[in-house]
């Protein structure tokens, strides 16, 4: 068994304690159960003070001796067992891989432990919340996407990496960026810029925006994966850097910002480790089309889904602020949305040379 670091030891201990609790229950002739915080909208609230979406205190007991729960109970321990092995062997794997690791036919029946990955993914999330261990601590990752450059040196599994010398592609952000994997070294960064899209991020990299502005630029290919979000959160918390978010002017863009800021409903239990409540929305704003004289022919008509989505957002408690209400209402009113690339209409480097510098200078952002 490889020597374990503190985090891994803690995780293994949690899994063992869960299993011990089951042994104790059946020894005492009790129906064994696993207690799982409920991950649904009903058990989520917005903590105004902290500015994040948080899981409530409602828990659900998953019993073994209950026809509708027995299978999930069994699955929970299959996954626990597999994760313990991963952690102990110092290996990390994808959740898809875990599905294959734990899938087998039960006894001489025609039943499988898992029929589809759709069955095992929620079990992983259940385990995360009930153990209070992040997926990464269980040595699991979802998908890897996202890249980053900036005036900072890091250590990734023992390798020193200078993010000032990453060429055009940047450093691929791994899905697990916990401190046992990634540590931060010397840096001159003043802030972090999270960009929605890979293409726009490439423009910023090519224009050496980060060098000029002394900032870290990072992109997550749309909705940022956990690795990117956790990286931003750690940079923000550990290096005390402000976070700016640059996304398309559409409901999806707003949503990416809101997840970055408050955490998602689905992963509310990780908000504290993922969300940056002070993150600032620098654009694209619904009012930029006038401010930056974007011609209407670069606008995209919103469809019914977009409008409904935007309307929904008006009700989010973290968008209750008057300025946010105006921002969203303007989008609904105009019935059009814009991609970041629309700014290229004003020149290919308009976004890096004029748009963003002006925004930052004018403190023209939303929080």
């Amino acid at each position: 068994m490889a020597r374990l670091d503190a985090v891994s030891k803690r995780t293994v201990g949690k899994i063992e304690r869960l299993a011990e609790s089951v042994i104790k229950a059946v020894k005492g002739k009790k129906n064994p159960f696993v207690e799982i915080p409920i991950r649904s909208l009903a058990n989520i609230h917005f903590d105004k003070k902290k500015g994040v979406v948080q899981l409530g205190s409602q828990k659900q007991k998953r019993y073994f001796f209950n026809v509708s729960m027995a299978k999930k109970f069994m699955q929970t321990f299959l996954v626990s067992d597999a994760c313990k092995e991963l952690v102990e062997s110092g290996k990390t794997t994808s959740i898809r891989d875990l599905y294959y690791i734990t899938k087998h036919t039960i006894g001489d029946s025609r039943q499988n432990t898992f029929e589809e990955q759709d069955e095992s993914d929620p079990i992983i999330e259940d385990l995360e919340v009930s153990l209070d261990a992040l997926r990464e601590e269980l040595h699991l990752f979802a998908s890897r996407k996202g890249s980053m450059v900036g005036p900072v040196t890091i250590r990734d599994t023992g390798d020193t990496i200078d993010l000032r010398r990453m060429g055009s592609g940047g450093w691929a952000v791994p899905s697990i960026v916990e401190e046992n994997v990634v540590q931060f070294g010397k840096h001159e960064a003043r802030y972090i810029l999270l960009i929605e899209k890979d293409a726009v991020w490439s423009r910023f990299n090519e224009d050496k925006f980060w060098k000029r502005e002394k900032c870290i630029i990072i992109q997550g290919g749309g909705q940022p994966p956990r690795g990117v979000r956790r990286m931003v959160q750690r940079l923000h918390a550990e290096l005390r850097l402000p976070v700016y978010v640059l996304v398309d002017n559409d409901p999806w863009g707003f949503y990416i910002y809101s997840v970055m800021k408050q955490g998602s409903i689905n992963l509310a239990y990780e908000s504290m480790r993922m969300a940056v409540p002070s993150a600032r929305f620098v654009g694209l704003s619904s009012f930029d089309k006038d401010k930056y004289q974007l011609p209407m022919n670069v606008a995209i008509k919103m469809d019914e889904g977009d409008v409904a989505r935007a309307r929904q957002m008006l009700a989010y408690p973290w968008f209750a602020d008057k300025r946010w209400q105006r921002e969203i209402e303007e989008m609904v009113r105009s019935g059009v949305k814009f991609e970041l690339e629309a700014l290229s209409r004003r020149g290919i480097s308009f976004i890096t040379e004029e748009y963003l510098p002006k925004k930052l200078r004018d403190k023209d952002w939303l929080e």
Partner: protein
């Protein structure tokens, strides 16, 4: 239809137009006419009976050849006297008088054969068997003998060894019914078998199978009409007495028997008993399913009888008796005043030998004591001095007495005269029935035995007896469950206490067999019986069907489309025993819709249904528990492995602990689930019938 016409035309050629003979007796013509191997023409002596001589004449030669229809003498050619005004007179009284005469019994039979159950060769086969079997069972019961019956159908198209091609469609068949009953005294045999409307049961109020006393001689008549062959009887009344063999024909003109053969036999294998042999034109191919059913159901409703059944080209089928106990003897009772009809009252009065009305009422009716008789007369305002004969002659007087009879409070008739099958014997009957029957599951179509349909579509139901299903794993049957031919059936039976309708005592019984090999997605099988006689026809017109349809079977865990019989793997037996079973028609095929009877059947069905619901609920629970247990057991292995891997603790110890909790949890949950299901079903039972709007 076309075939009938053709047959009729063919007949004309063979016999020629009938001259002005006043009456034709079959006795005169039949032997001469019966060909050695009669073809279709002899098989069908008459197409639909003509309704009048006139109608026959207008139909031309095809109508005239019908032997049994009177051909009137040439009518006078004179034109009728024409009145000054009004419609033209067509006939004078004198002319009409020439057409007025006594109706011969053969004519009556020919015209009314459909009323008697001989409307076509398929049905005639069944009716012939039925009449003989009913008589055998009645006689055995009355004599106190455990019946052993042999029913045989022989296809004369086959050779002596029973080999060859089965007759397709109509043909000659021999029906044999033999019993070990009391036998019939020599002197009575001719009248019983050679005279219509001669019997022992017509004049008595007693639960019995035969009622009209028309039975067996009508079958003899049918045989004689269609084949020219006499009925053959062998009978012996006891040990040391000789057996006699008779051949009897009916003189249709005089309705009198003609004994054509009377032999004393040296030996006969039966110590006592009767053997009846009839040669008839029948249709075995289409008729057999009805005969099969009749035989099966007769065995079912008569668990004290052993029945052997022999059919052409099929192995012998035997229904062994399920009990050595004879049914309780059905006693003869006097009619109850509340049940008597005005006409019957007048007839009884006129035939009374009593000197006064009081005496008449007391002797003729049950439950009439001197004070009751006095009360009746007082209510009618009739003096006791009045002679019964006067009542018989005076309709108004009789009506007053009749009303008083109805209105006076009189004790219900004695009900000890009834002989139901009984709970236990019904159960045993069902078990042995299910053990022997070949046909399982409902009939095709709407489950009605419809002879007309059957003729178009020959019964394709073949015996399934050879196809033995693989024996399922041995399970210990629960209470009320019988394991038959590898299937589990739940059987419940209910015998209601006797009740009275219109002064007639009656008793209702219901039995059901659920599960087994009955199809789960078809309408249930409804077996109807009246005085132990299966009712095979007119299901939808029957009061029993109405009662079962009106019962809400959804309360008893079966599905039931609105206004229909329930759907499910079940056979339901309904039996009514009564001294006088009210039928909708002379054919005695469907029970009349008397509210008192319908209600009783419903009550019995509900009682049975409750037992069924309890069983189904228990079974569902047991299935659920078994399934549950196996789920737990399956997962325990996995959980024990995982936890063993995580903690390093003994896998076996973990598994043991889990299994121990499993036992305990299952027990506790069982009780809780029981309660829940009980409550749910209670709610269900209280739920009102779905509204009309909610079509199904």
């Amino acid at each position: 239809m076309a075939a009938t016409k053709k047959a009729a035309t063919a007949k004309v050629k063979s016999t020629g137009p009938v001259k002005a003979e006043r009456q034709l007796s079959l006795l005169d013509t039949a032997p001469a006419k019966a060909p050695a191997r009669p073809g279709k023409e002899a098989a069908r002596p008459a197409s639909r009976p003509a309704t009048s001589g006139k109608a026959v004449r207008s139909r031309g030669p095809a109508g005239k050849q019908v032997e049994l229809v009177e051909v009137e003498p040439e009518a006078s050619a004179e034109a009728p006297v024409q009145a000054e005004r009004g419609p033209k007179r067509r006939a004078t009284a004198e002319q009409m008088a020439t057409k007025q005469r006594e109706i011969s019994i053969s004519e009556f039979f020919t015209k009314n054969r459909h009323l008697l159950g001989f409307d076509n060769p398929s049905k005639a086969l069944l009716t012939t068997i039925k009449e003989a079997v009913d008589n055998s069972l009645d006689a055995c019961e009355e004599a106190g003998i455990l019946p052993e019956l042999t029913i045989e159908v022989r296809d004369l198209g086959l050779d002596a060894k029973g080999e060859g091609e089965l007759t397709k469609g109509e043909g000659r068949f021999v029906v044999v019914v033999e019993d070990n009953g009391p036998g019939i005294v020599k002197a009575q045999v001719p009248k019983i078998f050679g005279k219509l409307l001669y019997g022992s049961k017509f004049h008595r109020l007693k639960q019995s199978r035969g009622q009209q006393g028309i039975g067996i001689s009508a079958a003899a008549m049918y045989g004689q009409l269609t084949t020219g062959q006499p009925i053959r009887i062998t009978s012996r009344t006891g040990k040391g007495k000789p057996a006699h063999f008779f051949e009897i024909q009916i003189d249709t003109r005089k309705n009198n028997p003609v004994v054509t053969r009377d032999d004393q036999l040296d030996a006969w294998h039966q110590e006592h008993g009767t053997r009846v042999e009839l040669e008839i034109v029948a249709d075995w191919r289409t008729g057999q399913r009805f005969v099969n059913r009749y035989v099966e159901h007769t065995a079912l409703a008569n668990p004290h009888a052993t029945v052997h059944y022999l059919r052409p080209k099929q192995p012998k089928l035997s229904f062994p008796r399920a009990t050595e106990e004879l049914p309780k003897e059905a006693l003869e009772i006097k009619p109850h005043p509340h049940g008597v009809e005005l006409g019957a009252l007048m007839l009884m009065a006129s035939e009374s030998k009593s000197h006064d009305l009081k005496g008449f009422l007391q002797t003729a009716f049950s439950r009439v004591s001197p004070p009751v008789a006095g009360a009746i007369l007082k209510a009618a305002g009739i003096k006791d001095r009045v002679r019964p004969r006067e009542i018989g002659a005076d309709r108004q007087l009789a009506a007053r007495l009749h009303r008083a009879l109805q209105e006076t409070k009189i004790m219900a008739p004695p009900t000890n005269c009834l002989s139901p099958i009984g709970d236990e014997l019904m159960r045993r009957g069902l078990v042995s029935f299910l053990s022997v029957i070949e046909s399982e599951g409902p009939e095709e179509g709407d489950g009605q035995l419809d002879l007309d349909a059957a003729r178009k579509k020959p019964g394709k139901k073949k015996g399934k007896a050879e196809v033995v299903p693989p024996p399922p794993p041995e399970i210990t049957p629960e209470e009320g469950v019988e394991r038959i031919k590898g299937h589990n059936y739940f059987i419940a039976t209910v015998t209601r206490p006797p009740k009275v309708y219109r002064g007639n005592p009656f008793q209702v019984e219901v039995g059901l067999a659920f599960g087994g090999s009955w199809p789960a997605d078809k309408t249930i099988e409804l077996f109807r019986f009246a005085n132990r006689v299966p009712l095979l026809f007119q299901r939808s017109a029957c009061g029993m069907t109405e009662s079962i349809v009106k019962t809400d079977w959804r309360n008893y865990m079966l599905s039931q489309p609105k206004g229909s019989l329930p759907v499910g793997p079940m056979a339901l037996l309904v039996h009514i025993a009564s001294v006088w079973v009210p039928f909708t028609s002379e054919a005695k095929e469907a029970l009349a819709h008397y509210p008192e009877i319908i209600r009783e059947i419903q009550l019995a069905a509900q009682e049975c249904g409750r037992k069924l619901a309890t069983f189904i609920r228990k079974k569902q629970q047991a299935d659920y528990q078994a399934q549950r247990r196996s789920i737990f057991e399956l997962y325990i292995e996995e959980v024990a492995s995982s936890i063993h891997q995580i903690t390093g603790k003994s896998r076996d110890a973990i598994r043991r602990d889990f299994l121990r909790v499993a036992e305990q949890v299952t027990e506790a949950d069982l009780a809780a689930d029981d309660k829940k299901l009980e409550e749910a079903s209670e709610k269900l039972s209280k739920r009102p019938r779905r509204g009309e709007a909610e079509g199904e």
